[in-house]
């Protein structure tokens, strides 16, 4: 029997889509929270960080409650004739939810380490909010944002618990590499499991090498400036 590579493509697709979603969402939310009054900031910060400290299975359980057919959201999805639970999109939702706190927190940290007076002076110079964001905030926080992206990528790639809870283990549909490994081992197919383990290690290694190449390049840029 030919080796089934479906889990690889599903994993890659899920991870890439989740990372893109989390990238924009994390930056947007971080930017929004930073400019809130202190109290609202503390509360929202706790809420957005919460998925990070919950066990993935618990997170999956809550997502199941939220998206299941008995919840308002589930009813809405049903009315729109959208089936999310146990579809491929469920893997993306699980991946995004577990990776979001990582991106959000690193983005927030990256924005907060920027000297406040630099933003203030940009405003007095007449720069629009949009220009301040693209020309000053983004370039100055880029190393942090990239680190957050790499973290999110690795986290989503390895996601298991929440995915299993809301997406299940449907071959060629929702079975990602971590699920494939678990069920191969469970079925006593050590050979298949080993292939997947090797592949996922390779992917993780690759993302690490890319990240360190990029950071050494940005360090070179930084040293040109100092």
């Amino acid at each position: 029997m030919a080796f089934d590579f479906a889990p690889l493509w599903i994993s890659l697709k899920t991870t890439l889509v989740s990372t893109v979603i989390v990238f924009f969402l994390g930056i947007g939310v971080a930017q929004w929270v930073i400019n809130l009054p202190p109290r609202a900031k503390t509360v929202l910060d706790a809420i957005f960080t919460f998925p990070m400290i919950l066990p993935p299975t618990v997170l999956g359980f809550f997502l199941l409650l939220l998206l299941g057919s008995n919840s308002p959201v589930g009813q809405l999805l049903k009315a729109l004739d959208l089936k999310v639970i146990f579809s491929w999109w469920a893997t993306v939702i699980a991946g995004s939810v577990v990776a979001f706190p990582l991106m959000y927190r690193t983005a927030r940290g990256a924005f907060e380490q920027i000297d406040r007076t630099v933003i203030d002076v940009a405003r007095t110079l007449g720069l629009s909010q949009r220009k301040i964001f693209t020309k000053i905030l983004l370039p100055l926080s880029l190393p942090g944002l990239m680190a957050g992206t790499a973290l999110s990528f690795s986290r989503t790639l390895g996601e298991f618990g929440a995915t299993l809870m809301i997406a299940g283990n449907i071959p060629k549909k929702t079975q990602t590499i971590p699920l494939a490994i678990f069920f191969a081992v469970e079925g006593g197919d050590m050979k298949t499991a080993l292939v997947w383990v090797a592949l996922i290690m390779l992917l993780s290694l690759l993302s690490m090498v890319l990240q360190s190449l990029w950071s050494s390049r940005s360090q070179a840029t930084a040293s040109r400036r100092s």
């Binding site: 007095t124 220009k131 020309k135 400036r225």
Partner: protein, 343 residues
């Protein structure tokens, strides 16, 4: 240029309350750190929001709490020079200046002009971290003027510079800013005096005085202001005759005219004369301690007549110090009547 400010803002330790007008002149706000002077500048620039009041610049209402107006900083056209200059670290000198040009301006010729005025030629492609403090300040000033502000605010502009460089920049600044009037915040009295026509004294969020610099230093309106402006010798006093006041703590009567109701008298250390011969208002004294600078000395002394133990101080040049030290005569401290400040 005309600026009207009348604002109130609740801060953690006190309420800030300032009101003043500024028209074709340079003004300094002088006060100890944490007195609310920087917050005042930030309110004018729009970086901070006052609780109440009104700010009007050249007939444009920038802030009016009653009418709910609060123009954002990017539309105020108020330049702000930060203490640390706040240059964009990822941009070269030219990029730092270039980003501030308003749309539709002739950027190329204006850039050349600014590079020339602020002596930045050769540094165009440098990043801020490579520049010296003075160069960074010139870039920040050029960038501020590139945005064509209607008013320039300077927040402790020289505190990051030292020695000779500070003096050079103090000398050059008015010319560099050209026709732009500025409102400067500082805690340095000499700086305020050198660089502005009028000075506002502020402490604990309240305006204590606002006047022409000469008037403010020659005749401070009250004792608190005088103390903030460097008055070191002061004491309670009462008028006992038309030309005489009594100073119990100093144990002496001083000859002086002036106002009728007197609660305190003061004299600047620079105005006390020490000499081996008693002059008018001269009293025997003994030197307790001397603080020597390179060219001047601060002499701490007590009057022989004074009852309680505390020190007065006088500042004199070193030759004078040598002279009185070498004289074997008894020493006198003289308080020239025209130099006495009465409160």
């Amino acid at each position: 240029m005309k600026l009207t400010v009348n604002i109130e803002k609740r801060l953690s330790r006190f309420n800030l309350k300032v009101h003043f007008e500024m028209e074709q002149e340079n003004i300094s706000i002088l006060g100890p750190s944490g007195s609310g002077k920087s917050v005042t500048l930030k309110c004018i620039a729009g970086i901070e929001k006052p609780d109440r009041g009104r700010i009007v610049l050249n007939d444009r209402v920038l802030f009016d709490s009653e009418r709910g107006i609060n123009v954002p900083p990017e539309q105020r056209r108020v330049g702000y020079l930060f203490q640390n200059y706040a240059l964009f670290p990822h941009m070269t000198v030219v990029e730092n200046i270039g980003i501030a040009f308003p749309p539709h301006s002739n950027t190329k010729s204006r850039m050349d002009e600014l590079i020339d005025i602020f002596q930045l030629d050769g540094l165009e492609a440098s990043y801020p971290r490579r520049l010296s403090g003075g160069e960074q300040q010139r870039v920040a000033l050029a960038r501020m003027l590139a945005a064509e502000p209607e008013l320039v605010l300077l927040d402790e502009p020289f505190s990051a510079l030292d020695g000779i460089l500070r003096e050079q920049m103090q000398l050059k600044l008015p010319a560099l800013l050209g026709s732009n009037n500025y409102l400067m915040v500082t805690h340095d009295m000499d700086e305020a005096y050198r660089l502005s026509e009028k000075i506002m004294v502020i402490d604990g969020g309240s305006m204590l005085a606002f006047d022409a610099r000469e008037k403010l230093f020659d005749a401070p309106p009250d004792l608190l202001t005088a103390k903030l402006l460097g008055l070191r010798n002061y004491s309670e006093a009462t008028r006992v005759g038309e030309h005489v006041i009594m100073v119990p703590k100093w144990g002496c009567y001083l000859e002086c005219g002036g106002k009728e109701k007197v609660s305190h008298v003061g004299i600047r250390p620079q105005h006390i004369l020490m000499s081996p011969s008693p002059g008018i208002n001269g009293f025997g004294c003994e030197i307790v301690q001397v603080l020597e600078d390179r060219f001047t000395a601060t002499v701490f002394f007590r009057l022989l007549s004074q009852a309680r133990e505390f020190l007065l101080q006088a500042v004199m040049d070193k030759t004078r110090l040598e002279y009185i030290r070498n004289s074997s005569q008894p020493l006198y401290a003289c308080f020239p009547p025209e130099r006495l400040l009465l409160f």
